[in-house]
Amino acid sequence: MVTTLDGIFREEWGRVLATLIGVLGDFDLAEDATQEAFAIAADRWPRDGIPANPRAWLMTTARNRATDRIRRERVLAAKLGMLVQVDPGEPPMNATTFRDERLELIFTCCHPALAVEAQVALTLRTLGGLTTHEIARAFLVPERTMAQRLVRAKHKIKAAGIPFRVPPPHLLRERLDAVLAVVYLIFNEGYGGRDELAAEAIWLGRALVELLPDDAEVRGLLAMMLLHDSRREARFHDGEMVLLGDQDRSRWDTGEIADGRAELERALALGGRGPYVLQAAIASLHAEMPCDWVQLAALYGELAHLTASPVVELNRAIAIAETDGPEAGLRVIDRLELDDFRYLHSTRAELLRRLGRTDEARAAYRRARDLTDDGAERRFIERRLGELASATGSSRGRHRRQQA
């Protein structure tokens, strides 16, 4: 039971807003009214105490605010002689059984007729309850740009007739994949260091599991995010990147690993074998010591088959290098068409270094460095180049893993 003000606001924002949009059929009106209700609560609750049923209070207050506004606008319109219409009364809303319409909301926000960046922003604003300012800061764009993006997206939903509903069965899989892709994208933005986005993505992932408990991919995505997030603290040391094999395992979040594995188990029990479930299984194996590279190579193979992604194939090459030796890994890598991908070159460099082919390793590290604009990654590669210069060929056999 959530009892703090912040906690209640966090939990209830998306729900109240979703229900209101469902009732009013208007994003802007619903958002303004929800905002007002939360502002009133923030003002009154600390003084008068939290009501027995905070959700009902927020819903009713927001609904009343919206009704007031509709009336005011009607009166104004009538005064101006623009509209002659009978007041339809209050929008119907049963105060005891508010329908949870968060699924309708997220499917609308992630509709493919909206640009992906708009899908992300809308999802964070409506379901996540982040302010425009917070979203703008997280994505490093000016607040005005983000505000315009949100306004445009909401306007398109209305003007183009994007439906507020859970898609019918023949569209569900494809549309759900779009929703999962948005959550994953938010998580990935956060993985680069903006912690609040990773936390937000996990929160959204949990909400989706609650709403769609029988979908293996939904659980797989949550499992994968938890397992990656568990290593957050260990991925950097004094601002420098640390590869998986070199991480201080005492800094891994064991609670998150356990949660992630439990989700993975449930996903597998549901018969899941989709891309997110596979990635979660891979992340789970990476958290084991010693690492089962044979099984990892097999899982990467399965994932590469599903996604046809050369990046996944690159990861398979790393696992193969561990089981069958660096030459075998290099053979897989040299078949890939990923010449602009920095990790291809850093992986090649690492395998070449292990083989004592120092000059080639150096050239590959330089290529990786030139493709990288991330400061921490550049410094990491510079350190590797420095090691190669000082210990020409002698560092052979020091196995390090590329996964971070």
Binding site: H111, A113, A159, A160, G161, I162, P167
Partner: protein, 115 residues
């Protein structure tokens, strides 16, 4: 909702012309099917973009040029009006337009009243 559905042929006309007769018949049948779909008001069949004339007015002068406003490949190739519940329903109709699967596309524009 009322939608204006704009058909862009892209490579579709060439590709359809190269199809075996049976498949060409299917293309015609599919367009016929679109026209008979409830909610659809067919537009007049549009002639080829190469026969288009584009008119601009600068100052008081009417400037007339040969061809469509955009490039030949990007020109509108046809249109119809669709009355549908929502965008998903319109997307389903758009996906049935042969141009969409032979290298062209359909653009869905919600109709709007400006005056």
């Amino acid at each position: 909702m009322k939608y204006v559905m704009l058909i862009y042929q892209g490579d579709a006309l060439e590709r359809q012309a190269a199809l075996p007769e049976e498949e060409q018949k299917q293309v015609y049948a599919d367009y016929q099917g679109i026209n008979e779909t409830p909610g659809v008001t067919p537009g007049l069949p549009m002639g080829r973009a190469e026969n288009a004339t584009t008119v601009r007015v600068e100052g008081a002068k009417t400037l007339t040029t040969d061809g469509p406003y955009v490039g030949m490949k990007e020109a509108v190739g046809g249109l119809f009006v669709l009355e549908a519940d929502d965008l998903d329903a319109a997307i389903e109709v758009a996906a049935r337009v042969p141009a969409a699967r032979y290298g062209g596309a359909v653009e869905i524009r919600p109709s709007e009243v400006y005056w």
